[in-house]
């Protein structure tokens, strides 16, 4: 919509720009238009409201602990229920343990240490996977086969994500290349001895 009324332009006077359709037209065109016009019909209005949740406890019974469970130091206690997936282990576990014990969530260091631990965790698992019957495969695990099965061109549409998609393989492949070069260097050193 371009402004047409130059004598009494909307916004620069009290007027609001006109809408292209009336409520009657919208109601006729769009199923359910205005069904929740009254805020009282909107489930999250007001923001805070009490309801029956199905809980039949005041404080939930505590879930049994099996071993160490890390927690944010902003919590006053271990929460009654918690996830038990992938407990802390190895060097990544030590970094995570330190991040949780030493830094509150308000500190950037808390999150940066956790991100660093994530990278250590990946390295630990990649190395360990080569001692299993199913080593990590940096090609197939990326799902690159989808390019063949569901591909089609993503070019020529002006997509702004194409530019960074081009550098994704470099960013993601660099640690693998560095790891392979490091391993080759170590093997050569051993052989020369």
């Amino acid at each position: 919509m371009e402004r047409t009324d130059t004598e009494h332009p909307p916004v620069y006077t009290h007027r609001k720009p006109p809408l292209p359709e009336t409520p009657e037209q919208l109601r006729a065109r769009i199923p359910g238009w205005g069904a929740d016009l009254d805020p009282a019909d909107r489930p999250s209005y007001p923001r805070e409201v009490a309801a029956d949740t199905g809980a039949h406890w005041d404080l939930p019974e505590p879930q049994p602990e099996h071993g160490e469970r890390e927690r944010s130091i902003e919590h006053g206690m271990l929460t009654p229920v918690f996830g038990t997936a992938q407990p802390l282990h190895g060097l990544s576990g030590a970094v995570r343990r330190y991040a949780y014990r030493r830094h509150s969530e308000g500190k950037a260091m808390h999150w940066l240490l956790l991100l660093a631990a994530d990278r250590v965790d990946v390295t630990e698992h990649v190395v360990r996977s080569f001692a299993t019957l199913r080593p990590d495969n940096p090609v197939t695990e990326t799902g690159i086969r989808a390019e063949l099965r569901h591909g089609g061109s993503r070019f020529g549409q002006g997509r702004s994500d194409i530019r960074h998609q081009a550098i994704d393989p470099v960013v993601n492949g660099a640690p693998w290349v560095a790891g392979a070069l490091g391993a080759a260097w170590a093997v050569r050193r051993l052989v020369r001895r």
Binding site: E2, P10, P17, L19, P23, R29, I30, P31, G32, W33, G34, D36, L37, P43, S44, E48, V49, A50, T53, G54, A55, H56, L59, P60, Q63, P64, S72, E74, L78, T79, P80, F82, G83, T84, A85, Q86, S92, R96, E105, W111, L115, A117, D118, D121, V122, D136, E141, T142, G143, R145, A146, H150, G151, G152, Q157, G158, S160, D161, H164, Q165
Partner: protein
């Protein structure tokens, strides 16, 4: 059981894992019949979310059949077909008692800044998710609901996050009759949010994205006008131009942490993890809203800081509203809307992929190949 597992940034695969077990008297074990990949799963997949551990099973959108219940479960029985909200919540803490289920204080020891979410890293509690054959569902008396007989499975699946979050996002925008509403992002959340804005009486809805097939869906599914931001020099200027230089009454950010449109922001966040998210969409929202307008944020951001144009938000007197959606609170009214035909949630599903091809499903969705908007995962496709 067979389950999707995270192996590192941009790498996932299916592995054999031990079956989940009852760990608390109010737990249930659910056999998953359908799961979905959410746009926010891509933040985990790309390694952006702190404390995402190798071996973690993602998936916070799923439905299934109750396989086993704990000793204190009263509201569910083995064999019930249930839809499970993406929030894990106790129903009784300070926050749940006030309806803020997504902010539950009793379920996530790892952080106080976020509640608990299935399959969404240890930062949200360390629970394995539903892109698997089986999943542990804590507080079975509080979270899951039996799927009504008349509701399709895929429609129920989309109630567990995408549709509920979008409907919630439109509510956060505080839309009044005749308001102009811009929706940033034409993914599942943006499409449903645009559709929801009409229910609240919007006078105009404009969806902004860059993918032609998604913008087409915005016009047909969501009855909205569209702007392709790659076809205009300056999207904020276009938002002003389209509103006679007023700006939009309300803007909904349905993009979140991996917004494209600014290479520097993208590299510093999605690639090098120096920000909690690329605030490109959020900054467009702030600059494209009218003074005194409302910004609703339902796109997901990480816990680190982001370079948000906060001065503009202050000086324009904007209201910024945001939260993870308290899903179960939305269901009674949403079910009415679905039953009345105002929504057909599964209309946006573009791909159905067996769990065994989970690596391809993630790449397809991440690279936005083949017109992908929403991917459903089928655990028992074999």
């Amino acid at each position: 059981m067979r389950a999707m597992v995270y192996r590192g940034p941009y790498r996932v695969r299916v592995e054999e894992k031990p079956d989940p077990r009852i760990e608390h008297p109010n737990d249930a074990i659910v056999r998953v019949t359908r799961a979905a990949i959410c746009g926010s799963d891509l933040h985990l997949y790309h390694g952006m979310m702190p404390d995402t551990r190798v071996g973690h099973t993602f998936g916070h959108e799923f439905i299934g059949v109750v396989e086993e219940i704990g000793s204190s479960v009263q509201n569910l029985q083995v064999g019930d077909k249930v839809m499970v909200p993406f929030n894990i919540f106790c129903g009784s803490c300070f926050f749940c008692a006030r309806g803020l289920y997504s902010n539950c204080h009793n379920v996530n020891p790892n952080a106080t800044a976020v509640g608990a979410i299935y399959g969404y890293s240890h930062t949200t509690g360390g629970y394995d998710g539903g892109q698997a054959e089986l999943v542990r569902v804590p507080f079975a008396d509080v979270g899951p609901s039996v799927i009504p007989d008349w509701l399709d499975d895929e429609d129920a699946l989309l109630m567990t996050d995408a549709l509920a979050t979008a409907y919630f996002g439109a509510q956060l925008a505080e839309i009044a009759e005749g308001d102009t509403v811009a929706v940033l992002g034409a993914g599942p959340i943006g499409l449903y949010a645009a559709r929801s804005a009409w229910l609240m009486g919007a006078g105009r809805v404009v969806v902004i994205d860059q993918l032609p097939e998604r913008l087409e869906k915005a016009r047909t599914f969501a009855h909205a006008e569209t702007i392709n931001f790659t076809e205009v020099d300056d999207v904020v200027l276009e938002m002003k131009r389209q509103t006679d230089h007023l700006g939009f009454d309300a803007v909904i950010d349905a993009v979140g942490a991996e917004a494209d449109g600014n290479m520097t922001q993208h590299l510093t966040s999605a690639r090098f993890k120096l920000q909690g998210g690329s605030p490109v969409a959020l900054n467009w929202a702030i600059d494209g809203a009218r003074k005194g307008g409302v910004i609703s944020v339902v796109g997901a951001y990480g816990p680190m800081f982001s370079s948000v144009k906060f001065g503009d938000a202050l000086n324009k007197g904007l209201t910024l509203r945001m939260n993870q959606c308290p899903v179960k609170r939305q269901w009674p009214r949403l079910l009415e809307h679905v039953r009345n035909g105002y929504f057909k949630p599964s209309d946006i599903v573009t791909h159905r992929i067996p769990l065994e091809h989970i690596d391809e499903a993630y790449h397809l969705f991440s690279a936005k190949l083949d017109g992908c908007i929403k991917t459903v995962i089928i655990p028992d496709a074999s």
